[in-house]
């Protein structure tokens, strides 16, 4: 049976490796253990171990969740140039983008699970088993689309690798259908994530239609930034050839979207401050604090500065095509988007609360521990998948051909 051989091959590939590989996996296991220890605290003592409150019902978990769904959606930044425009250097690495998407969805789902009061009741939100409030509740919709997107990407990756393993080109019709479904799928998971927030008129800071395109644009900044860094690490530690021009093309896409993101941000700023309604208080809180509650202000300015500076830096081709400055730029984009979307979305949205409460929130130690564990799980998933994928998709063995279709289209720039 070829499937069994395939599974055995993957399994062997995952458990075998250099010393550095084992060290890395041990490190990730420690991170995961920290997360489990944190979650155990929460399970035993209740959600009171977090620093959330009735005035601040959501915190770091939901902020990180919004960020990570964006990272998952950013797989389109590779799928479109690779499979719509058939640009070969990117087409080769689309599969790695899908693996990043899988890891990001897993982390996003874990963040929601950690946030729930009763995770064992999650089946209540699932179609057929429970009573999901479809299509009115955006969280219910999101559970469906996010799990669908996860399954779709798992199928794409597994099918692609299986075909590589048996040395037969994939069925083009099936594969392209899956790939073309994943493109609107990626956009839809993130649009629905934005809908979770912006359908709430109770929270004026979120209740803005521009939140949807802002979510997608921030996603297509941070996602590619993470991919560029991950691919650079991967080609250092694994026997894999990721071409510079693929990375630079991704960086180029990132810069264009970064511009769109800054424009949407400006549109929000101008609308809020020029109209100066009572609802402007939320964005004022973000950029200048409210009473004694000032600690978010430095994050706000730091994050915005990262985004603006990174844009002007990476706009210059020389800087964008220098590996060191590109790394710095990517880190700035990740920090800027995480602050804009993780911290700058949830906290100002809930401060002041609907009854004017200003609640000072910092994630508690337990929340931070759980978050570290979730990052560990994400990195673990990414490592395991790419460990099995690299030899199959990127190392041509003499007897086996890598699936490849149209040649000679590399000149599309």
């Amino acid at each position: 049976m070829k499937i069994i051989q395939f599974s055995t091959f993957c399994f062997k590939e995952i458990i075998r490796g250099k010393k550095t590989y084992y060290a890395w996996m041990a490190f990730l296991s420690i991170l995961i253990f920290i997360g489990v220890a944190g979650y155990y605290q929460q399970a035993v003592h209740g959600h009171i171990v977090s620093n959330m409150s009735d005035a601040m019902p959501w915190g770091i978990f939901i902020g990180t969740y919004a960020f990570l769904v964006g990272v998952a959606a950013a797989a389109v930044a590779l799928a479109v140039p690779g499979y719509v425009y058939h640009w070969e250097p990117i087409k080769e690495i689309v599969i790695l983008g899908e693996i990043i998407a899988i890891s990001a969805v897993v982390m996003a789902l874990l963040n929601v699970t950690a946030d729930l009061g009763h995770p064992e009741r999650i089946w209540h939100a699932m179609p057929i088993l429970g009573k999901p409030n479809l299509p009115l509740s955006m969280i219910a919709v999101n559970i469906v689309v996010l799990n669908g997107y996860l399954v779709l990407n798992l199928v794409i990756v597994t099918y692609f690798l299986y075909c590589s393993f048996i040395g037969r080109p994939y069925n083009k019709k099936i594969f392209m259908a899956l790939m073309y479904t994943s493109i609107p799928g990626a956009i839809s998971i993130h649009a629905v994530t934005a809908f979770i927030f912006n359908v709430l008129p109770a929270r004026p800071y979120w209740h803005s239609a521009i939140l949807v395109p802002r979510f997608i644009s921030t996603a297509l900044c941070a996602g590619p930034a993470i991919m560029i860094l991950a691919f650079k690490v991967l080609r250092k530690v694994a026997d894999i050839d990721i071409k510079d021009k693929a990375l630079f093309k991704i960086a180029e896409i990132m810069v264009v979207v970064l511009f769109i993101n800054l424009l949407l941000f400006l549109a929000e700023i101008v609308t809020e401050f020029r109209s100066a309604t009572v609802h402007t208080i939320h964005i004022k809180f973000y950029f200048s604090g409210l009473g004694d509650e000032m600690k978010i202000v430095r994050w706000a300015w730091f994050g915005s500065a990262c985004n603006v500076l990174a844009f002007f830096m990476l706009l210059v081709p020389k800087i964008r095509k220098n590996h060191i400055t590109l790394n710095i730029g990517c880190l700035m984009v990740i920090a800027g988007v995480f602050i804009e979307k993780g911290i700058g979305l949830v906290l100002p949205g809930l401060t002041p609360g609907t009854l004017g409460e200003v609640y000072s929130y910092d994630p508690s130690i337990v929340e931070v521990m759980i978050s570290i564990g979730i990052v560990g799980v994400g990195a673990f998933v990414f490592t395991v998948f790419s460990k099995a994928a690299v030899p199959l998709a990127f190392q041509k063995r003499p007897d086996q051909k890598r699936p490849k279709e149209i040649e000679g289209q590399e000149q599309i720039q």
Binding site: Y40, V44, H47, E120, R121, A140, I196
Partner: protein
């Protein structure tokens, strides 16, 4: 109470049983809290949504809950499940001219509805405003619930108690991913505490801050507990679920006033059936200029504020 045909339940239960075999394993993991794994826990895990229970299922749930409460509090309880009366739609009036901010309603509510004492949960919060701040519109950022003068009312202050506004168009119900909260035909928005997954999306959606999360297992001294319970109302809650005002569903469905109305020393609180033209609430709506909070959001509250006079 909506009752669905027997065979539908059978099919439903079957699908659940088949599909959740793996989820059942997860329960084992989730009982990490050190609780003993017994048959009651399993019954609770597979409990039907309270909107769909049959009378027989209610009896089972009642027996299980009464046994549990007896064990926890050492007392006998009465668990009611009165259905809504089709000719009733509850409405509430609050006279801001009279309210003196004494907070007796807050404590009557806590005692009646078995809210957690540690940490304390108050379904009603009383805001204090300087009277100049409420002349044009009410912005809660100008008020505070943390006043402490000793004697009430303080000179030049206006008091505004706020709890669930029992919206006709409740954003919390739309938000809930599992339909664990819904509006009953008599206008009361209730929660199935055994169905709520604790995502707190309803709390983000509520414009009135009327929903509270049990961040920890609630604690109520056995002597202070109110033994007259309603399945959808004041039965003791559990850690990890959301709770809210139910217009004292255990009292009002028996034709009594909510505890806050009964206790108010100045008669600022009015309550009644909005479908009855002679009721107090209808007379009030006819004779006074009432307003609702945050009307621009379109929630259409059944909680009306008015000034009988300006103090």
């Amino acid at each position: 109470m909506k009752i669905i045909p027997e065979h539908a339940i059978d099919r439903r239960t079957f699908i659940k049983g088949a599909g959740i075999a793996t989820a059942a394993l997860a329960v084992g993991g989730c009982s990490a809290a050190g609780k003993v794994f017994d048959s009651d826990l399993l019954a609770k895990f597979f409990q039907t949504h309270l909107r769909e229970i049959t009378p027989e299922e209610f009896e089972k749930i009642e027996a299980r809950l009464l046994k549990k409460y007896k064990k926890e509090y050492g007392r006998n309880f009465v668990l009611g499940n009165e259905p809504p009366n089709p000719d009733v739609l509850f409405g509430y009036g609050l006279d801001l001219g009279r309210c003196i901010g004494c907070r007796r309603c807050v404590y009557a509510c806590v005692a009646e509805n078995n809210q957690s004492r540690t940490p304390s949960i108050h379904w009603i919060r009383v805001f204090e405003f300087e009277s100049k701040d409420v002349t044009r519109s009410i912005n809660f950022e100008n008020g505070t619930p943390f006043y402490n003068h000793g004697l009430q009312p303080a000179e030049g202050m206006v008091y505004l108690p706020i709890a669930c506004q029992q919206c006709e168009n409740p954003p919390c119900v739309m938000a809930c991913p599992t339909q664990a909260t819904w509006k009953e035909p008599d206008g009361i928005t209730v929660i199935d505490y055994d169905w709520c997954i604790g995502c707190r999306y309803c709390m983000a959606a509520c414009p009135y801050g009327a929903r509270y999360f049990n961040w920890v297992e609630p604690e109520i001294p056995a002597d202070d507990i109110n033994p007259n319970l309603h399945l959808l109302g004041n039965r003791p809650r559990q850690h990890g679920v959301v709770e809210k005002c139910t217009f004292c569903i255990q009292r009002t469905r028996q034709g009594r006033y909510p505890a806050c109305v009964e206790v108010c020393p100045v008669g600022a609180r009015k309550f009644g059936n909005m479908l009855d033209p002679d009721s107090e609430i209808r007379q009030l709506l006819k004779r006074k200029r009432t307003f609702v909070l945050k009307a621009e959001i379109g929630t259409d509250p059944k909680f009306f504020y008015f000034y009988s006079f300006y103090g």
